[in-house]
């Protein structure tokens, strides 16, 4: 087999059937009676909802929308359109109150204000954390800075010290963990399973929150590149608005793409290079296919490898010791 621009193409119908069987088999084995899916208005949860309905029928699938006050209103609109398409009545669970109870916003904004003293959420300032955009050209490492958007729309970007970065991320992670709790409430009321919506890019590179969006019962699409998720979405008839929406984190108060927050590369480019890396294709050979200089491909290879290695702990079960020896 040769590495080409089309190497990521999959047989969407065949893959759909494989995933549906996987879901059905697992449900039988675990004696779960249906599926709970958190729908965000994004492509991954859209594909998972479609697969769940195919596997179990709409009566055995529950779709939960969980926005908070920072969420884009487009997310709810698209989520409702998605649920209607597959015959599922969505449940709205706004998590703002729960997050305020955790002091999520106050803890996050306090750290932002330490770095940018003029920042004031009450006056309409918004914020997000971003990685440098020059992974391929500059080869820079994954060091966050904070971008503050003033009420007049102007932006200010400053380097983010370690302590403040950790606090901002820890506070923001409360969102994903609150969503996990909400999904499990609905699942346990019905003896349903919580279906994960992570794709391979998220799962393997560690772009998820431990016991947040990573806290699920089964991961039906975590083996698929983002590029392949789009192929499935087209096959499954996911609403056009979701298929064409740029991936967003929809997490911080300022709009933030997944590319600027984590991946630093467009998916179409990253997925092909990542497949090449996994397949043992050298950077020189991959460069000819993707149309980049070998040094840039090597930078992408190194970044993907580092992210996978440094996030291994997210994917591990908690380690434990073997039982002590006994006289038996």
């Amino acid at each position: 087999m040769q590495f080409t621009k089309n190497s990521l193409n999959l047989d969407a119908a065949q893959e759909t059937e494989r995933i549906v069987k996987f879901l059905q088999t697992n449900m039988r084995q675990t004696m779960r009676r249906g599926a709970v899916v958190g729908i965000s208005g994004g492509i991954d949860s859209a594909v998972v909802l479609a697969l769940a309905v195919k596997a179990f029928g709409p009566q055995r699938v529950v779709a939960i929308m969980m926005p908070d006050k920072d969420s884009d209103s487009l997310s709810e609109k698209l989520a409702r359109e998605l649920a209607a398409k597959y015959g599922v009545e969505p449940i709205m669970e706004n998590i703002t109150g729960a997050l305020e109870g955790y002091n999520c916003y106050q803890r996050r904004d306090e750290a932002v204000k330490r770095v940018v003293p003029e920042f004031d959420a009450a006056k309409g300032y918004k914020s997000k954390i971003v990685l440098p955009p020059d992974l391929l050209d500059g080869g820079t490492l994954n060091v966050f800075s904070v971008t503050v958007v003033r009420p007049d729309g102007s932006e200010l970007n400053k380097p983010l010290p370690a302590r403040d970065m950790l606090q901002i991320v820890a506070a923001s992670n409360l969102k994903q963990r609150t969503r996990m709790s909400t999904l499990y409430y609905h699942a346990e009321c019905r003896q349903f399973a919580v279906i994960g919506t992570a794709n391979k890019n998220e799962h393997a590179q560690g772009f998820f929150v431990k016991y947040g969006d990573g806290g699920v019962d089964i991961q039906p699409i975590a083996h698929l590149f983002k590029t392949q998720i789009y192929q499935l979405a087209k096959h499954l008839g996911v609403p056009e608005g979701i298929q064409t929406r740029p991936p967003t984190t929809d997490t911080y108060s300022a709009p933030q793409s997944q590319e600027e927050f984590f991946y630093r590369l467009p998916f179409e480019q990253m997925d092909l290079m990542w497949l090449a890396l996994e397949s043992g294709v050298s950077a020189d050979e991959a460069a000819k296919v993707v149309g980049l200089e070998p040094v840039k491909v090597q930078r992408a290879y190194d970044d993907i490898t580092r992210k996978q290695r440094t996030t291994d702990f997210l994917r591990l079960l908690p380690p434990m010791l073997e039982a002590p020896k006994t006289s038996i």
């Binding site: 820079t140 490492l141 994954n142 380097p159 190194d302």
Partner: protein
């Protein structure tokens, strides 16, 4: 100040910082100065941020975002060379 002293003045504090604050080691920094901190899994991205902060505070250098690259930060030797480029060391 001799070259040897200059070498000890920069590499040694960097080694000590990594050993104490990133590896939590009582045995000091046991890797060679040219060991790839990233490839060997000695530091992660948080470690990079903390090293940036350390170099700025210890050696009074301003680290620009564009300079946070493996060729400046991936080993004790590379960080020391980077600091020397950014500062004046009397021969």
């Amino acid at each position: 100040m001799t070259d040897k002293t200059a070498s000890q003045d920069i590499e040694a504090p960097i080694r000590n910082f990594i050993a104490t604050h990133l590896l939590y080691s009582n045995e000091g920094f046991t890797y060679p100065d040219d060991a790839s901190l990233l490839r060997e899994g000695i530091i992660d991205s948080l470690g990079v941020v903390e090293l940036v902060e350390f170099l700025q505070a210890k050696f009074n250098v301003k680290v620009e975002q564009a300079e946070v690259r493996p060729d400046n930060f991936d080993s004790v030797a590379k960080m020391a060379a980077y600091v020397r480029k950014k500062t004046t060391v009397a021969a």
